[in-house]
Symmetry: C2
Subunit: 337 residues, 2 copies
């Protein structure tokens, strides 16, 4: 198996990307092809490890790409014009079967545009979307769309529900995944226009499409473990995701200080801190082990924009599993019916 990895994308690229590839290579079976500015990658590897990439592992390769897509770039324009960017080169490799999965921490909009324009949508799906796995009490849930489509229609949310169902069934063996609609109240009459119309569509069409629609879900109940998938538009989904991250960081920081404040809890805190650290690390990794672009013909994984080497490593391992599970082939099959 071959993993195509955008070496330039993300806030900490290319350093974190390179380190992740080197660190993870002996933990996986696949080959990793780093796509990006060859000269820079080679000199960084030399700087970090004092040897050439090929000397580190025969399963580490480079594919040169002279341009990069920036966060400020207009997605579609960038994909059309930056032909030699790490992202476009990576997508083309995936398209031409030079690899089995493409991972990038770059501009989400450009990733969606590239996935749609260069790799192509699965027949029957209007808008591919980003699916992320988040932790919940004693379990996990899928959030879709995590941020690919900022403006959605009810039909898109219906398809997100359909894709979530198929993915959870095939990958995690959940027979009838409970799908909820992210809303600001549990009552049918709550929400903005998009959510109200989506509710009706899910209620009317859900059953015949095999969706186990359980109604509205509020953010405060999302983590209860009662729901398997939450569907929402990409704007709201991304706010949800980043708020989760913000609260997590805030709680960790404040809690540590609160524990260190007085002498009794300070004494107690010393052995508690590893538990708190482990806990928050686990949460981070679970949340940000990369999002999957469901609805695209081939596996595309979005790594977290602010990934460090450790998080990239985790994302690469998850991506390998995603390919092994044949999640995309199963999605194509399901929509063929």
């Amino acid at each position: 198996m071959k993993i195509i990895f955008d070496a330039m994308g993300g806030d900490n690229g290319p350093d974190a990307n390179i380190k992740a590839a080197v660190n993870v290579i002996n933990k996986i079976k696949s080959e990793i092809i780093l796509v990006g500015k060859e000269e820079i990658i080679r000199s960084k590897v030399k700087e970090f490890y004092g040897k050439d990439l090929e000397q580190i592992s025969v399963r580490l390769k480079i594919k040169n790409a002279t341009e990069t897509i920036e966060m400020e770039d207009q997605p579609t324009v960038a994909i059309k014009h930056k032909k030699d960017s790490s992202m476009v080169v990576g997508f083309n490799m995936l398209k031409q079967d030079e690899g089995d999965v493409f991972i990038s921490a770059g501009n989400s909009g450009a990733l969606l545009a590239g996935a749609t324009l260069l790799v192509g949508r699965i027949k029957g799906i209007d808008r591919p979307a980003l699916a992320g796995i988040l932790p919940s009490y004693k379990s996990k849930f899928l959030l879709m769309d995590c941020g690919a489509n900022t403006n959605c229609k009810p039909i898109n949310l219906l398809q997100f529900a359909q894709m979530s169902t198929i993915y959870l069934k095939n990958t995690f063996g959940i027979e009838k995944p409970k799908v909820g609609l992210l809303n600001i109240g549990t009552e049918e009459t709550k929400g903005n226009e998009l959510v109200k119309e989506s509710y009706q569509l899910l209620k009317d069409k859900g059953e015949e499409l095999g969706i186990n629609f359980v109604g509205n879900v509020e953010g405060r109940d999302a983590f209860s473990g009662e729901i398997d998938a939450i569907v929402t538009d990409g704007f709201t989904g991304n706010v949800f995701l980043k708020t989760t991250e913000g609260v997590g960081k805030f709680v960790k920081r404040t809690l540590k200080e609160s524990l260190l404040k007085n002498i009794i809890s300070k004494l107690a805190a010393v052995p508690s801190l590893p538990a708190i650290n482990n806990f928050s690390k686990k949460m981070d990794y679970k949340v940000y082990g990369g999002g999957l672009f469901l609805g695209v013909k081939k596996p595309v994984v979005k790594a977290h924009g602010s990934s460090d080497a450790k998080l990239f490593e985790y994302t690469i391992i998850q991506a390998e599993k995603f390919v092994e599970n044949k999640a995309v082939d199963k999605m194509i099959e399901a929509f063929d019916k």
Copy 2:
């Protein structure tokens, strides 16, 4: 000063509401008028305390209201037709100067409708909105709209920014409050249509309206303490708020279990637990000390729907301060200019 308190509203009403009024009365200077079904209130007081309300304190009063507005009720319809509901009666008392502030934990939409239709908007404000104070690292920030207006236009967000600025300046003495726009990226080009247009409007008109607009803010940076106010539409704001609550609950629950898992951290956890408990209690109260309906001619406070007696107490104390600060009069003055 007189506090008009909806005795029926909220998930735990009227029991929690009654207990809160009784518990808080000696901690405040104001009179509390409980609005709701008199017979029920009297019998509950008898049941809980073995005496009549008047025997507990001369500053506790009842105003009879025979109907209640439910969570499922259509807001405007309910306000127009349920004339003898605790909410409508409360609003009318506020309007007729029979009290200085109205507190309710009932249906948010109905509260907005009542505030607008019965009490009236401040001249120059198209849509009043719910402002909530949330904790941030070593400080706090104001979130507006927390959930009153599910469908907004850019002009509404501009006015939310204006109201936030005036409120923070007058109540907390922050000279040039930093106002951010809740978005899914920091770049100008990010977001859905509403957010993109609001960004331009805030950029173009912000300065002349005295708004210190600092650009887009992502959920993960909201709690950093760098921002004084975050403006957003009521749908997104409410998702933000409830997600914050959900993550908080989840973290608390999981962290406790994680601490209790092994013997070393278990021993450590015993003295740590009070610190964790205090911390999360503090967070809850800060977040949910009631939202303020800014943009309405008189003080209206929305208590958290799932308030228990303790949280209602805290909200009542905050409401008294809100009236003492003359926040509404100062808002009217500012918009008069």
